[in-house]
Amino acid sequence: MTPPAESVAAMIRPTPLPPDSQTNRDIMDVFMERPGLGWLLLVGICLGALGAGASVWIYQIYKGLGIAGYSHPIFWGAYIVTFVFWVGIAHAGTLISAILYLFRAKWRNAINRSAEAMTIFAVFTAQLFLGIHIGRIWKAYFILPYPNQRALWVNFKSPLLWDTFAISTYTLISLIFLYVGLIPDLAIARDRTTGWRKALYGALSLGWQGTTRQWKAHTRTTLHLSGLATPLVLSVHSVVSWDFAMSIVPTWHSTIFAPYFVAGAIFSGFAMVLTVMIPVRRIFGLEHIITDYHFENMTRFLLLTANIVAYAYAIEFFVAWYSGVEPEKTSFYMRAFGPYWLSSWIMMTCNGIIPQLFWFKRLRTHIPTIFVISTLINVGMWFERYVIIIEGLSNEYDPAVWGRYTPNLYELTIVAGSFSFFSILFLIFLKLFPVIPISEVKELIIHDRAHAPGHGSHAEAH
């Protein structure tokens, strides 16, 4: 039986396309709009600072590490401090994507993409510091187990080598995680762009069409990657902490270091996500997607991890006293009242005391307060690493070899350059890729619509 001719004709006739999904438009506007003056200005400032940092690094490669402020016995300075700082920042992304995914915390949808992107950029920034810190950058590849003429292999018993494996694994897995999440969104962009953008999104989206087979594989992949990334994220900062804890330096040689560092990393990562996303939400008018509810949930995380960190600070002092080990006791006394007292009290105030304000709901939902506190936490977490590393090294066992360290202008320029490096990468990401996972947001919208009472069969054009 052939269908009536007019029926077939009606089916072949092109029907006018309904208006595009509101979610698509809202989020694509963020990266499709021409960069505004503010964006260009920010990139310009960051490029300036990055240029300064890069010049200093080049000068340091030429002159040697002597230009940094190292002095006996402190040879881990601002570079390692900032390295640990950025590795810590990198923990929020995977925590939000993987762990909250496993807990089915749907509110993560609004922030997970930006957090994942920050993870990648923070890891890149951290890895720069490994190159900067080792001085002879041209020998950086010595850390990899590669076949060489001397038939030498690396020392797998060294925590520094574990760190190499942990951080490079983390970089790759975070990249895969970010990319897998991006594929459906890139297909959305492919369908709606022209010119070089279409070519870019078309190539990167790999021909994604959202067939059932693809979605099914995609949700499974996300689940399995989450399952893999959850222990990974906990392991990475644990391994970083073992760089310290496996040594015998007083204040470092302690079993609390792994959980203490992991909690601190999540704490600082969430703070950084808030510091970055509060202005982004305001500038791009995304208040209806990233709501105050999302920010409030994140402040709860800050409160939780702040308390874990504060507990660690306190218990360290207690254990130093209770152990009766003289160098430990001395070192911790020096932490609070020694030459680095200011850094220590900045750390304790910003990380332990100020976040307690989040007990109050009014402050958890007051966006300017959240912004100020999260920024202070970033400062405090940089100082935490500064205190742990510098104070630990300066008061070791024998008072005859105690020393002092202050980062000099060269080091601080490079540290400032690293913030610019991170910011530039993020600013470019904002203008090139969807900063909010479009299909995940749509999943919730379609789900809500399908279950809304009194729903008809017609699409709402919003």
């Binding site: 459906p184 990657l225 299909s439």
Partner: protein, 167 residues
């Protein structure tokens, strides 16, 4: 064979139509969705996805590689470090753990590509940009004489439009 594409607003509508079409023996169908929905997956193919095999194989490969790499390299140029045995398992577990995750993750990505049949250079003729908006598409391959019946079925299950893609 011509392909009929029904356009739907809700995942449950698509799932219903898929079940009905399959019941009538129209098995050559493809659903395009803007987001993942369990009910559609259930209706189209309830079997578990094969991605998990990739993850498992990758993870085990990484684990084996991690121990093999560290132990072999330590024995290949034996140096006593910290008075520990050449092949000391506890420190090497860190490396093996990281490589388990690394290989597991990379294999999972390969699994997504293999199972999802990616990358492809050409999009299906029945695919439309509407399916990356908020609508669902159900493409059914039918013989000429079944066009009317399938169209009726699609419309009966709340397809708001049905288009014919000739191929």
């Amino acid at each position: 064979m011509p392909t009929l594409v029904g356009i739907f607003d809700t995942p449950s509508g698509v799932a219903e139509a898929v079940r009905r079409l399959k019941g009538r023996g129209f098995g050559k169908l493809e659903v395009y969705a803007p987001a993942p929905f369990g009910e559609i997956e259930e209706a189209v193919d309830p079997r578990p996805s094969k991605v998990r095999i990739f993850t498992l194989v990758g993870g085990l490969t990484g684990l084996a590689t991690g121990y093999a790499l560290t132990i072999w390299m330590s024995l290949n140029w034996p140096i006593v470090i910290g008075g520990k045995p050449f092949a000391s398992i506890p420190p090497y577990t860190v490396i093996a753990f990281e490589l388990t995750i690394l290989f597991g993750g990379i294999f999972t990505l390969l699994g997504l590509l293999a199972v999802g049949r990616l990358p492809t250079l050409k999009l299906d003729p029945s695919y439309s940009a509407r399916f990356s908006a908020e609508e669902f598409g159900l493409a059914v391959e039918v013989s000429d004489r079944d066009v009317a019946e399938v169209e009726g079925l699609l419309r009966a299950h709340a397809a708001k439009e049905v288009t014919l893609v000739a191929e």
